[in-house]
C-alpha cells in the first residue's frame, strides 16, 4: 500500500540546512497497525504529514497504491487523500465555529456526497459513537475525550483506507485514551490501515509493528 524510498526532508533557513528526515525507507501493507515512536524532534510528525500528503519531501520517492505521490499535482493529491486518508490529531483540530454535526458533515461536503446519503452517514456515526444528544454542541462545549471521539468519527466517516493518528491520546486522561485506542484497534480489525505516532509504550502495544525514529533516522532497537 505504501512504499517510501530514501525520503529526506530538510528546512533551510539562511545558509543552515536543518534535516528532519534522512533516507527513510518504509513499506506499509494494507491492514497493518504501525506505530512510529521516538523522542521529541525526531521527525515523527513530519513523517506522518508526508505520509498524509500534507507535506512534501525534499527528495525521495513515495508510492501510495503504486501511484507516485511525489509526482502528482496538488489537485490529484487532494483527490487521493480526501478519498483514502483520515487524520486524527493530538489537539483534535475540530472547526470551532461548527457544531459536532457540521464538523462530521464537512469532509462529506468536500467529497460531494449527496444530502440524503450524508444524513444517513452522520446519523450512523453519531449513533456508533453515542453522540446523538451532542450533535448540536460546539467543540468547546465538549470534554477532550468527546472532542477526540468526534475527530475520530470525522476521520472515518469517509471510509478511509488509511488512518493517520498523531498522538491521538496526548491530551486525554487514561480512560478517554483507552477508549480512543480501543476504537482504533476495532477499526484496524475491520481492515483499515492505521499509522500512529506516540510516546506511550502502552499505546504502542496496540500496534503490530513499531519503528523508531531518532534525529530523522530510522533506527533498529
Amino acid at each position: 500500500m505504501i512504499k517510501m524510498k530514501e525520503i529526506t526532508k530538510f528546512y533551510s533557513s539562511g545558509f543552515v540546512k536543518t534535516f528532519v528526515l534522512r533516507n527513510i525507507d518504509l513499506d506499509v501493507k494494507e491492514g497493518e497497525f504501525l506505530t512510529i515512536m521516538g523522542p521529541s524532534g525526531a521527525g515523527k510528525s513530519t513523517l506522518l504529514h508526508i505520509l498524509g500528503m500534507l507535506d512534501s519531501p525534499s527528495s525521495g520517492e513515495y508510492f501510495f497504491y503504486d501511484k507516485p505521490v511525489h509526482r502528482l499535482s496538488e489537485r490529484q493529491l487532494s483527490d487521493l487523500h480526501k478519498n483514502h486518508i483520515g487524520f486524527v490529531f493530538q489537539s483534535y483540530h475540530l472547526i470551532d465555529d461548527l457544531t459536532v454535526y457540521e464538523n462530521l458533515e464537512t469532509p462529506l461536503l468536500y467529497k460531494k456526497v449527496k444530502g440524503s446519503e450524508r444524513k444517513g452517514k452522520i446519523a450512523e456515526m453519531l449513533d456508533r459513537f453515542n453522540m446523538v444528544a451532542k450533535k448540536d454542541l460546539f467543540p468547546n462545549q465538549l470534554s477532550g475525550g468527546q472532542q477526540q471521539k468526534v475527530a475520530v468519527a470525522r476521520a472515518i466517516i469517509i471510509n478511509p483506507k488509511l488512518i493517520l493518528a498523531d498522538e491521538p491520546t496526548g491530551n486525554l486522561n487514561t480512560k478517554e485514551g483507552t477508549e480512543v485506542m480501543d476504537l482504533l484497534k476495532e477499526l484496524n480489525e475491520g481492515g483499515t490501515t492505521i499509522i500512529q505516532v506516540t510516546h506511550s509504550e502502552k499505546n504502542a502495544s496496540y500496534g503490530r509493528r513499531i519503528i523508531n525514529l531518532v534525529d530523522g533516522w530510522i533506527v533498529d532497537k
Binding site: 500534507l54 483540530h93 465555529d97 457540521e102 464537512t106 469532509p107 468536500y110
Partner: protein
C-alpha cells in the same frame, strides 16, 4: 456547502464583534458615499432623456467665426430661423422657439419677480412635459393664456382652482392680463428646460420691435426642432450652408463683405445640452462633466480605502483562522474550495454592508440633495439600473476586498499550519503597503481641504477695491421709469442720516450677466473693454477711488453727453501717461467721441479667476437705470432696510421690493468653489475616518499578537511608556511615509486648481506639515490608546497562557 460557509461567516461575524463592526461600518460608509455619488452622476448624465422623443429632438446652434478664425458655438439663434427651417425642410416635423425673461407678475395687488417663458404651440407636442389641465394641441396658441407649473399655481392660489384666474404680467414696459388656462405637472429634476409661467411665443412682439424679430443677424432666440422619424441629423446639417446662403446671404453681403464662413449652423442633440459647457449664451446653466468624473474618482478612492480595511483585517486575523484552513485542507478541501469560501465570506460582508450603506444613504440623502441642489431619490424597483448597479457595487466590494485574502489564506499548507505557530498579519509588507496607500489618499484629501479653505478665505478677504458690505442693490425689474425711480430715491433719502449715498446703474456689479463688453478706440489702438453705464454718485456709493481727474458732477452739464471715466487697466492697456482729456470712440450708439475726465483705481468687477480688465464708465441718459445702489450706515441696518422698503412701496407699488448686498453678489461668484471645498472636506473626513477604523483594527490585532512579547519585555524591565511608544511607532512610521508620498501628488493637483484663479495664494510648506501632523495625531490617538492599554496589563496574565 454554501450553507456551511454562510454559517461560518455568520458565526464569525457574531463572535468577532469589534472586527465585524469595523469592517461593516467602514464598507457601509463607503457604499453610502458611492450610492449618493452614483445617483448624482446618473442624474447628470441622463439629463433630458425622459422626453419620449429625446432622440429626435435637437437644438439649433450657430457657430460664429471669431477674430482669431476659430468658431465659437452659440445657443442663441436669429428669431426668424425657426419658421424658415420648418418651411424649407420637410425633414423638420415640429419646431418651437423658446425665450425666457425675468419680469413682474401682479396678483391681487401683490407683485412678484418671476421667470416668464415664451414658447410656441408645438412645444407640448415635442417635449414630454405632463399637462395636468389644458389641451396640449392648442394651449399656447391663445395670446392671452398662461400655463402655470403646478407648484407655482399652488403658491399663488393655494387650494383654489387656478383655472380661469387672471394674472397681470409685465411684458416689456406694460402690464397685460393673462388667463390661467393650463397647469403643467412638475418638471423632472434632470430637465434642462424648465418653466414656471409659460405664455405664447407671440408675446415676444410686446417687447421687441418687429424689425428685430425679422433680424437675421440678431441672436436672441433658442430654436428647438423635432426631426421626422427616419431623418439623420447629419444629412440635414449638410443642407445648412445652402440655407444660410438663401436666408442670410443678403446680410452677409451687406455687413460681412460676403464672408460666408462667418456663420455655420449645427444640430445639437437635446441630451447633449446639459453637459456641454462649450456653448455659450443659453438660459440654463449646464454642468461641467468633469465634476462627475472627479466625484466618481473620490467615491472610488473611498471605496478602495474601505476595501483595504477589509483585506488588511482579514489577513491580520488569518492567524486565528489558520487552524480552520489547515483542518479543512486535511478534510479534503481543495484550494479552489477554500477560495470560494473566503470570497463567499467577503461577499456576505459586502451584502450586509450594502444593506447598512443603503440605510445610511437614505439618511444622508436629504442633506446631500440640499447641498447638491438636486432632488434625487433611490428608486429601488421601478428602475432596473439602480438595482443592478447596487448589485454590481456589492460584487465589486466583495471581490475587491475578498480576492487577496482568499488567495493568501488558501495558500497555506496544512503541515506548516500545524507544525509551527505561523506569525503573520500586520507585519507583512503587503499589509503595510495597503496602510500606506490608505494614508496617501487621506493625506491627499486633507491637504486639498486645507489649501482650498485657504484660497476661499483669501477670495473672501481680498480687498476688491470697494466696500460692498454696506451697499444695497435693488433691481428696478426693467421698469420704464428706472431713472425716475433712482432720482426719487435720491431726493427722498437725502434727509436720512443712515443713508450715505444713492446712485443708479444699468449693470449690477458682480453679476456678469448684466455686463457689456465692447471695443474702445483711441486713435489707431482698439481695446476690448467693459462698459458700465452709470449715474452721478455711483463711484462714491460703491466706494471707488478716483486717482486722476474727477467724478461726474451735476455742474458740468456736458458730462452726460461727452464725458467718460476709465479704469487704470484701460490706461495701462492704451499706454497713456496721462488720461485726462483723451478722446476715445465707443461702439454703443454714440457717434461722437467721449472725453476722459477721470481715472478710477482698479477694482475687481469680476471674480478673482480673472485679471482686472479695462473698463469705462459713462452716463447714458437714453437707457433706463436697472439697479438702484444705496450706501447705508453700518449701524441700524434693519431700520435702513425697512426705510428702503417703505420708500419702494410708495414709489413703485407694482413692482416687488427685492434687494441684495453688494458683497453677497460677489460671494455668489464662488458658489462652485465653496461647493467643491465642502465636498473635499467631507471626503477627507470620511477617508481619514475609514482609514483610522482600519488602523484601529489592525493595531488591535497586532498588539494582541504581541501580548507575549510585551509580557516578556515587561518582566525584563521595560517601562509602560517605552512599550507604548514602541508599538505606536511602527504605525506612525507608515503614516509619515504616506505623507511624504502624498505631498507631490497634492502639490500637483492643487497647483493646477489654483491656476484657474488669477489671484491666488502660494502653496506653503506649512500646509503639508499641518496635514502630516493631523494625520499622525489621529493615527497616534487610534493606535496609542490600545498600545498603552496593552503595556499597562500585568505581564503575569499574558505569560500564563504559555
Amino acid at each position: 456547502m454554501f450553507k456551511n460557509y454562510v454559517k461560518i461567516a455568520a458565526r464569525n461575524l457574531y463572535k468577532q464583534k469589534a472586527y465585524s463592526l469595523i469592517n461593516i461600518f467602514g464598507l457601509a460608509i463607503a457604499i453610502a458615499f458611492c450610492i449618493l455619488i452614483l445617483l448624482f452622476v446618473r442624474d447628470e448624465v441622463t439629463h433630458d432623456s425622459f422626453h419620449k422623443k429625446a432622440d429626435r429632438l435637437y437644438r439649433v446652434i450657430i457657430l460664429k467665426k471669431q477674430d482669431d478664425g476659430s468658431m465659437q458655438s452659440h445657443a442663441m439663434t436669429p428669431p426668424p430661423l425657426g419658421p424658415a427651417l420648418k418651411e424649407e425642410f420637410p425633414e423638420v416635423a415640429h419646431m418651437a422657439r423658446f425665450k425666457k425673461r425675468g419680469d413682474v407678475v401682479v396678483y391681487q395687488g401683490k407683485s412678484f419677480r418671476e421667470s416668464i417663458t415664451l414658447a410656441e404651440p408645438d412645444f407640448f407636442k415635442m417635449f414630454s412635459f405632463p399637462l395636468i389641465y389644458g389641451d396640449p394641441q392648442t394651449i399656447l396658441q391663445d395670446r392671452n393664456s398662461v400655463v402655470l407649473r403646478e407648484e407655482v399655481a399652488k403658491n399663488y392660489f393655494g387650494d383654489e382652482d387656478p383655472i380661469g384666474k387672471i394674472l397681470s404680467i409685465k411684458m416689456g414696459s406694460r402690464f397685460y392680463d393673462f388667463t390661467v388656462s393650463g397647469i403643467a405637472g412638475n418638471i423632472p429634476g434632470n430637465s434642462s428646460i424648465t418653466f414656471d409661467f409659460l405664455v405664447s411665443f407671440d408675446r415676444v412682439k410686446d417687447y421687441t420691435p418687429a424689425s428685430q424679430l425679422n433680424q437675421w443677424l440678431g441672436f436672441t432666440t433658442l430654436t428647438f426642432i423635432e426631426l421626422q422619424g427616419n431623418v439623420i441629423a447629419a444629412d440635414l446639417e449638410q443642407k445648412f450652408p445652402g440655407f444660410i446662403k438663401k436666408y442670410m446671404g443678403q446680410d452677409i453681403e451687406k455687413y460681412l463683405k460676403g464672408d460666408y464662413s462667418a456663420f455655420q449652423m449645427d444640430l445639437q442633440p437635446l441630451e447633449d445640452i446639459y453637459l456641454n459647457t462649450r456653448i455659450s449664451s443659453s438660459y440654463q446653466s449646464g454642468s461641467n462633466p468633469i465634476y462627475s468624473y472627479i466625484l466618481s474618482g473620490i467615491a472610488f478612492l473611498i471605496l478602495i480605502i474601505a476595501a483595504i480595511n477589509y483585506m488588511n483585517l482579514a489577513i491580520a486575523r488569518s492567524t486565528i483562522r489558520l487552524r480552520e484552513i489547515g483542518v479543512r485542507k486535511v478534510l479534503g478541501a481543495s484550494r479552489k474550495k477554500l477560495m470560494h469560501q473566503f470570497l463567499g465570506e467577503s461577499l456576505f460582508f459586502s451584502f450586509i454592508s450594502l444593506s447598512v450603506g443603503i440605510v445610511l444613504a437614505e439618511l444622508f440623502l436629504p442633506a446631500f440633495n440640499n447641498f447638491a441642489g438636486k432632488t434625487l431619490s433611490i428608486q429601488y424597483l421601478s428602475d432596473w439600473t439602480t438595482l443592478s448597479s447596487l448589485v454590481v457595487l456589492m460584487l465589486f466590494v466583495g471581490f475587491s476586498s475578498g480576492s487577496y485574502p482568499a488567495l493568501f489564506l488558501s495558500s497555506f499548507r496544512p503541515a506548516e499550519v500545524f507544525r509551527s505557530h505561523l506569525r503573520i498579519g500586520g507585519k507583512s509588507k503587503f499589509s503595510k503597503g495597503l496602510v500606506v496607500v490608505q494614508f496617501i489618499l487621506s493625506v491627499f484629501l486633507i491637504i486639498c481641504t486645507l489649501i482650498m479653505t485657504q484660497q476661499l478665505s483669501y477670495l473672501q478677504n481680498r480687498n476688491l477695491g470697494f466696500k460692498g458690505e454696506q451697499v444695497v442693490i435693488m433691481p428696478t425689474h426693467g421698469s420704464a421709469q428706472g431713472t425716475l425711480l433712482v432720482d426719487r430715491f435720491r431726493n427722498e433719502l437725502a434727509s436720512f442720516a443712515d443713508v450715505k449715498a444713492v446712485a443708479g446703474s444699468v449693470q449690477s456689479l458682480g453679476n456678469d450677466r448684466t455686463y457689456i463688453a465692447s471695443p474702445v478706440r483711441f486713435e489707431k489702438k482698439q481695446v476690448m473693454s467693459h462698459y458700465f453705464l452709470i449715474d452721478y454718485d455711483f463711484l462714491e456709493t460703491v466706494g471707488l477711488q478716483i486717482v486722476e481727474g474727477r467724478d461726474f458732477l451735476k455742474e458740468f452739464t456736458a458730462d452726460p453727453k461727452e464725458s467718460v471715466i476709465v479704469n487704470e487697466s484701460l490706461v495701462n492697456e492704451m499706454g497713456w501717461d496721462s488720461a485726462s482729456g483723451k478722446k476715445i470712440k465707443t461702439f454703443m450708439g454714440r457717434k461722437d467721441p467721449l472725453t476722459v475726465v477721470g481715472v478710477v483705481k482698479d477694482f475687481h468687477f469680476e471674480s478673482l479667476h480673472n485679471q482686472i480688465k479695462p473698463a469705462i464708465f459713462y452716463i447714458e441718459p437714453r437707457w433706463q437705470q436697472e439697479y438702484i445702489y444705496v450706501k447705508i450706515s453700518p449701524v441700524n441696518i434693519p431700520s435702513s432696510l425697512r426705510l428702503l422698503e417703505d420708500m419702494w412701496k410708495k414709489n413703485a407699488p407694482n413692482f416687488p421690493f427685492m434687494y441684495s448686498f453688494l458683497d453677497d453678489e460677489f460671494q455668489k461668484l464662488y458658489r462652485a468653489e465653496k461647493r467643491w471645498s465642502t465636498i473635499i472636506r467631507y471626503s477627507s473626513f470620511f477617508a481619514i475616518l475609514i482609514s483610522c477604523l482600519g488602523l484601529f483594527g489592525l493595531s488591535a490585532l497586532s498588539i494582541a499578537r504581541r501580548t507575549k512579547e510585551i509580557g516578556i519585555r515587561k518582566v525584563l524591565g521595560a517601562s509602560v511608556q517605552g512599550l507604548a511608544s514602541m508599538m505606536s511607532l511602527d504605525f506612525l512610521k507608515l503614516v509619515i511615509f504616506a505623507n511624504v508620498l502624498s505631498w507631490p501628488l497634492a502639490y500637483y493637483v492643487m497647483s493646477r486648481w489654483l491656476r484657474s484663479f488669477a489671484f491666488r495664494i502660494d502653496i506653503k510648506l506649512g500646509v503639508f506639515l499641518l496635514a502630516a501632523v493631523i494625520a499622525a495625531a489621529i493615527a497616534l490617538l487610534t493606535v496609542g490608546l490600545q498600545a498603552v492599554k496593552a503595556a499597562v496589563a500585568n505581564p503575569v496574565e499574558s505569560l500564563r497562557y504559555e
